[in-house]
Symmetry: C2
């Protein structure tokens, strides 16, 4: 759960990538601009991958081993702030960044000691809405409206390039964080614990009456609570509220 | 010689590209960011190319036909300002830009009505020094010094991305140019005419005494005169100087 904690660059997380070639191209793009924290969720053709190695131009050998997860949430456990890359508009209320404004935001968050991650979806279909619901913000590359055809490796390249380009004018990281734990943003693992407890209680209290809508209702709830950018302390307070309302002190 | 004169985007010129795949990837990268003026100099495997079409994701069909030249100078004829992309340091005195600062400069030149072009060399070897000598400035992508491995398509992508990113804050093009022709920068075709006339005269006057050094001496001369960024009027003055010194009025 604290893996990668000391990484100073954002984690690049490829969710359901299909072609090893594209994973290799992403690794090559990353290392050109100094990013080394690559993580995979359910790569279709397994891992390690000969075609990824062939397309990485030596980058994978120079990077730490690439961890593979079966769930996006697990890949995100120690992260505090998550960006989802999408090409299409989604019906979710989240801040929308370009690669340039997103990396500005990233540098500020890194300087404040936050662990950040960027999710990239499968080649054809992109991220599914449940993964986007776990994210705080959306990144969309502004492209030619008449020809919008960036592949996975190209999208990773543009993000890595912007990270590196803005590195020099980025704020200096604070060596010692003065703030108490109260102001620490909640980690994704703790947030997920809260989501799951809340959803279990809601289920037990027949909140999800019209069965078919449950997945959408959960997604909307997660979107809303993610958007709140809770601190660790606030997440504990929220647990207290659930305990109070249900009379169960399960945390 | 006036082809592309009305193009408002920079020309992307691939010199001696080897793989059709990379030409296709360059076209795809360009059109995503609204660039459509692609030109080729001596593509190794000929043109049109099935592998280029396959890798362009439909971009080539949507772009104007790609002209093919046998000499870089011919591809540049109507251009006023030329950028050479290189990964390695060269021993030439020219301004060195990043993609970001280069596109700032490009937008200013475009707004002033200049035709601009960016040269990209062959996959492995890059541009040769004679092509760089024809260029006014150099573009180098600042990459990880421990892993510098951008391919042709990726390099074109970063440049096209920066062009598009900076488009909105770019100066508004002047609808009517007020300046007289005196201030128009010389076109590459006229500059080349001047070079060739000067070199012919120097040859006739036994300037290149030590035969083996002639190509290097010519390259140095061209570097120097390109750096001067002559206006059309100044190029004519220079012709006048040659006529005066040689007693031949060949222009």
């Amino acid at each position: 759960m604290t893996a990668h904690k000391n990484e100073i660059s954002p984690a690049i997380i490829l969710v359901n990538p299909q072609m090893g070639e594209n994973i290799g191209a992403a690794a090559r793009a990353m290392l050109n601009f100094g990013l080394t924290d690559l993580r995979l969720v359910n790569p279709r053709d397994g891992w390690p991958s000969a075609s990824a190695t062939a397309n990485a131009a030596g980058a994978l050998e120079k990077m730490p081993p690439v961890p593979v997860y079966t769930k996006t949430a697990t890949a995100l456990e120690e992260c505090h702030y998550i960006y989802a890359t999408t090409a299409r508009r989604r019906d979710m209320i989240k801040p929308v960044f370009t690669p340039s404004t997103a990396t500005e935001d990233m540098h500020e968050r890194r300087a404040a000691g936050q662990n950040i991650a960027v999710l990239f979806g499968a080649e054809r279909s992109g991220l599914d809405n449940d993964d986007i619901a776990l994210s705080h913000a959306i990144i969309t590359v502004p492209v030619n409206p008449d020809f919008s055809s960036l592949n996975l490796g190209q999208s990773v390249l543009l993000l890595a390039y912007e990270w590196h380009r803005q590195k020099e004018q980025a704020p200096v990281p604070q060596a010692i964080r003065e703030e108490s734990e109260k102001n620490t943003p909640v980690s994704h693992a703790h947030l997920l614990e809260l989501f799951e407890r809340l959803e279990t209680e809601l289920e037990a209290h027949h909140f999800f009456r019209t069965g078919g809508h449950k997945p959408i209702m959960i997604r909307n709830l997660r979107n809303l609570l993610t958007r709140a950018e809770m601190t660790d302390q606030e997440a504990r307070t929220f647990h207290g509220i659930i305990s109070a309302l249900t009379g169960k002190k399960t945390l």
